[in-house]
Point group: C2
Chain length 118, copies 2
């Protein structure tokens, strides 16, 4: 057994199998960014926002009205989407218009939608 295999007390491990998989295993960093990516889509409010923006550019007001939610709640969620660089926005006088800005997420989104609709 190599040192990295005996970090726990477990006896019944197939060491060879485990080492083979460990060689190609996701790094901690990969696992975290992967799960963070999926986390964006792991909330119904955000999936609705993403769906709506996949149809058309919308201001915060439009989204709030569409989802029947408060401006504040929507704005908080848009900030998350902004931080993850999934949406971009333009300001026109007092209004702020959002659009989708990541085709990968759109692809994931539609894969997932296909999945639940089958």
């Amino acid at each position: 057994m190599t040192p990295e295999d005996d970090v726990c007390e477990i006896k019944a491990v197939d060491g060879k199998k485990v080492r083979a998989i460990r060689r190609s295993m996701l790094t901690d960093h990969e696992a975290v960014s992967l799960s963070e990516t999926f986390s964006v889509l792991a909330d119904p409010t955000r999936t609705k926002i993403i769906y709506a923006l996949s149809r058309e550019e919308l201001c915060v007001c439009d989204i709030a009205s569409l989802l029947k939610m408060s401006l504040s709640a929507v704005s908080h969620q848009l900030r998350i989407l902004r931080n993850m660089r999934l949406v971009k926005f333009r300001k026109e006088s007092k209004m702020v218009y959002y659009t989708l800005d990541d085709e990968h997420i759109t692809t994931l989104f539609h894969e997932g939608l296909k999945h639940i609709r089958e």
Copy 2:
């Protein structure tokens, strides 16, 4: 304005635009199941388990050793994956062997992985 548009005090809504999108909007149920689907992949421990099982059938011990986590923690996560019908298992004497049991999730998983690795 139709009654469904004035649930909030917002004035600057583009009613026509909003109504058009609302017609094809995700239902609450769709949004919830979609986000639940993505929630499965929204945790680094589970993404690692799914990755490992995409390579080979493994017992709980193997997974715990691979992830350097407690049996209990792994077992709790496997229960979530079982409840979502993403893994299946077979018992062989004292050991329980898990395998992946949902190709859709595997597809989503690899889409996401492609995304973060680009």
